[in-house]
């Protein structure tokens, strides 16, 4: 398997596109024709070769450009990456997990050579070669969490576990669906989810927390979450909301297929060995509606999901104003035929 890494942007001229192969492996998040919150957690096991579920940390054609976008966002706002002092060990745990997984699962792209604490890391796509001493911060150009997450797609929340709760005490957050690490750092599981409507009353967070507190080493879990984004913006942060919020106004029936994107988060959860912290990678996948409707099953189903979504959720997800237009556009691709169960194309 060879990945051809694309040259593309997620800002200004927005040249991001998915190849037909990337569309086929897109993690479409709806197993049925309607959507409501659920604790849709399952074991993060290798599944369906070629899919985003095959590898521990999926690397795809957008890797190099996404890492360039992360560096750009961090240069503008270093507060997107923070780690409270007691979280450094968890950062090393995370670095080890990512380096060993990538070197094993993508040997042609990444290499890790270990001689005791003397480590040698090679990242071919990004042209990085680093010799360092494991657990010695002075031997890396950044802290361990920042170092490795500048080379790994997706946001990372690193959660300390104490008092039967999870605490968001470190993170790298540049591809987020409108939440602020700088504001939320130090909060517990219920506090950082406080603004989410309905789910608290439904008991979603109580059950999810119970599950997450019991995640064991070597038994990671995963779930999908979704929203919609106008233009292929990885960085839809509250910090920059005054810059991207206005783009929602530009949406028309004519530009819908190119401008409107389904945004899916592959969320995974891993127990870390030394710190007993939990790492919560949140990987963002974007797909244009023009690309999505090339899969007839997804087109039909997505129309029905968006049409029937409770108003409260459409508001929270930020597309309630544009929903009538989106539904009108999608309706052209829905002939009313039955859809098969599950998320995969027929």
């Amino acid at each position: 398997m060879t990945i051809i890494f694309k040259e593309e942007t997620f800002h200004d001229d927005f040249t991001f596109r998915n190849s037909p192969e990337a569309v086929k492996r897109f993690p479409f998040p709806f197993p049925e024709d309607s959507y409501m919150y659920s604790v849709n957690l399952e074991p993060h096991k290798s599944y369906r070769p070629g899919s985003v579920y095959e590898r521990t940390f999926d690397v795809d054609e957008h890797y190099v450009s996404e890492m360039r976008d992360r560096a750009r966002v961090l240069a503008e706002d270093p507060l997107r990456c923070q780690s409270l002092p007691h979280m450094t060990l968890a950062g090393w745990d995370l670095l080890e997990l990512i380096m060993t997984s990538k070197a094993e699962e993508y040997p042609e792209l990444f290499e890790l050579h270990r001689d005791g604490a003397k480590w040698h890391w090679i990242n071919r796509p990004l042209g990085i070669e680093q010799k360092f001493t494991f657990l010695d911060e002075t031997t890396l150009p950044y802290g361990p969490m920042e170092y490795i997450t500048r080379q790994t797609q997706g946001d990372f929340a690193v959660l300390d576990q104490r008092d039967d709760n999870l605490w968001m005490d470190a993170g790298m957050v540049t591809t987020q669906a409108d939440w602020s690490l700088d504001f939320d750092i130090g909060m517990n599981f219920f506090e950082w989810h406080a603004p989410v409507p309905k789910a608290h009353e439904m008991g979603i967070f109580q059950r999810a927390l119970k599950f997450l507190l019991n995640i064991q080493q070597g038994s990671p879990a995963r779930r999908l979450n979704w929203t919609m984004t106008v233009n292929p913006l990885l960085d839809t942060s509250p910090e920059n909301y005054h810059k991207w919020g206005v783009m929602k106004k530009d949406l028309t029936l004519e530009n819908m297929g190119q401008m409107m994107h389904l945004r899916v988060e592959l969320q995974t959860f891993f127990r870390l060995p030394r710190s007993n912290a939990l790492v919560f990678p949140i990987r963002c996948y974007l797909i244009k509606l023009d690309e999505l409707v090339t899969v007839p099953k997804w087109a039909r189903r997505f129309h029905r999901v968006i049409r029937d979504l409770p108003t409260e959720l459409a508001t929270y997800k930020g597309f309630v104003t544009n929903r009538p237009k989106i539904v009108e556009w999608l309706s052209k691709y829905d002939d009313g035929a039955l859809t098969s169960p599950g998320i995969w194309p027929d």
Binding site: S180, F183, A194, P195, T321
Partner: protein, 199 residues
């Protein structure tokens, strides 16, 4: 009483006497009344082991004489929270096991003093709080990160960057502030009428 809200918003209680070797009390404005009410049920030697840090703000000298009558071991009356901060930090730095912390008054005062106490290693759940007086909010602009004190209106104009912000209930203990987000981000210039929500 403050209205109920989302789960990131702190919940305030009523101060009660707890056994301790030193009782550190930080209060502003009408927060003094919470300390005075606490005194009603205090054992006779309680204030001999108390350090009261008080910022009168709009209450002026209304409660100062009454606080003096409690005869705390130390009573500090300061012009602003910022002025009192070095003292608060010094007390926390020298604290031993058996310190009890009591915070009373506005959310802004309690939130900031709470942060200092937790930085000094006291778990936030061990710190008592009682809201008294004004419900004005301390709000951080999510865009420029500047904090505007004593916000009464929603939306309001950020004191730092000038954007018009709406006030969320989402609250950060570390920043000791609510979150402010540009109200006209999706439709620049369309700013709803500002109403007094916090007084």
């Amino acid at each position: 009483m403050l209205e109920g809200s989302i789960l990131s918003r702190p919940v305030y209680d009523v101060l009660e006497i707890r056994p301790g070797r030193l009782h550190l009390m930080v209060a502003d404005a009408e927060g003094a009344e919470a300390i005075l009410d606490l005194a009603a049920s205090a054992p006779s030697d309680f204030f001999a082991r108390a350090h009261v840090i008080y910022v009168p703000k709009r209450a002026g000298d209304k409660f100062i004489a009454k606080l003096e009558q409690l005869a705390p071991a130390q009573l500090y009356v300061g012009p602003t929270y910022e002025a009192a901060l070095p003292r608060l930090r010094r007390v926390l730095a020298g604290a031993h096991m058996g310190l009890q912390v009591y915070l009373a008054g506005t959310e802004g005062l309690m939130g900031q003093a709470m942060f200092e106490a937790t930085e000094a290693g006291i778990p936030h759940s061990a710190i008592q709080t009682e809201h008294r007086g004004s419900a004005v909010r301390r709000v951080q602009c999510v865009h420029c990160k500047g904090i505007t004190e004593d916000v009464t209106h929603d939306p309001f104009q950020c004191a730092h960057c000038g954007l018009h912000l709406f006030v969320r209930d989402h609250y950060s203990r570390r920043i000791a502030a609510f979150q402010g987000v540009r109200v006209d981000a999706e439709d620049p210039g369309n700013i709803p009428e500002s109403v007094e929500r916090f007084r």
